[in-house]
Symmetry: C2
Subunit: 199 residues, 2 copies
């Protein structure tokens, strides 16, 4: 038996395809859209279509971009000798937010995960090596996630890049600033101890 009119059922189905949206969340979102004004719904629909129309991948670093190059790659004031390698475009945003980095990026578009069938060939690793051959990069900062996939990916890339005579660094693992020692997991705390610095 159909409990929902087909247009509602269809919207629920599409909403449930989104990550982290189950039946209850989909229902809440659908009812919000149904109760809201038509202009609000049109704006949302248009933003979805427009983002797919306007956004592509940067031809150089594979970040999201509005033209051939992303904002960072098109900016001549950025330091092209330092390259930060990340997994996803959202990681570029995270690094940019620190205000600590003025170099360029390379977005792998994932991390090595044999269990998910993702090897270096599925990532933008070949493109990274190509760039290092073409550009004058003196340091590659590996800013992949500090999890198993990210560490594996960092190790893999380090092994490829070091023979090119380029300095390879890895972002530090440690306790989050403002965090509590007693709530840190033992792996993180172990890393923080290992990476202790002279004061």
């Amino acid at each position: 038996m159909a409990f929902y009119a087909p247009p509602i059922a269809r919207l629920l189905e599409e909403l449930e395809r989104l990550p982290g949206i189950g039946p209850k969340s989909a229902q809440r979102l659908a009812y919000h859209i149904l109760r809201g004004d038509t202009e609000a719904a049109a704006r949302l629909a248009d933003a979805i279509v427009e983002v797919k129309r306007a956004i592509r991948f940067c031809e150089r670093c594979f970040n999201f971009a509005e033209s051939e190059l992303c904002e960072m790659c098109a900016d001549p004031t950025r330091d092209a000798t330092t390259m930060c390698v990340v997994e996803e475009p959202r990681d570029v945003v995270a690094v940019e937010r620190t205000g600590e980095f003025r170099g360029t990026y390379h977005v792998l578009q994932g991390a090595i995960s044999p269990i998910d069938g993702i090897g270096p060939e599925q990532l933008r690793v070949r493109e990274l090596i190509d760039r290092l051959g073409r550009e004058s990069v003196s340091e590659v900062i590996l800013a992949t996630d500090p999890d198993i996939e990210g560490e594996t990916t960092a190790l893999y890339i380090a092994r490829l890049v070091k023979p090119l005579g380029i300095r390879v660094t890895r972002i530090a693992s440690g306790l989050p600033v403002g965090g509590d020692l007693e709530y840190a997991d033992e792996v993180t705390l172990g890393r923080a101890l290992e990476a202790r610095r002279e004061m």
Copy 2:
């Protein structure tokens, strides 16, 4: 400084307007849309626009409908002598799921909540009384939420309807008090319907 390209920023902004979607969820959804294929994004956008185009309120019971009347009101096999009064269209779906009810509905489109400035005038109460004058209803089942607003609304409507010589019942508490009708499982809600009491 702009961390996101404008089309992405715009999509994030629209997504964050949705209930229960904070900045992190919006980012996850936006990235899913950006990484997915254009057809999937178009389907979602179209479902949003279409639901607003195709769905209106039933002229009789104020449930969501695809034409003047909703599916239930248009169904001549439903028992028009028993009317179930609910707060929202989603509550109609919840009651339908029990399979215990074959009467008609009346959707109040909310509940009395003085704190939110919602009185009987903001709800479809006048339309309910009109219907009861026009239709041959012998029992009104009050299935508003078992919370303060829902109980207040049920009491208010009971006081209006009983003088009309119509039997007024309230779904049984069996539902957790302070809970939400839409989250009840169908067995519990079915029992509650079955065990409705005279008011």
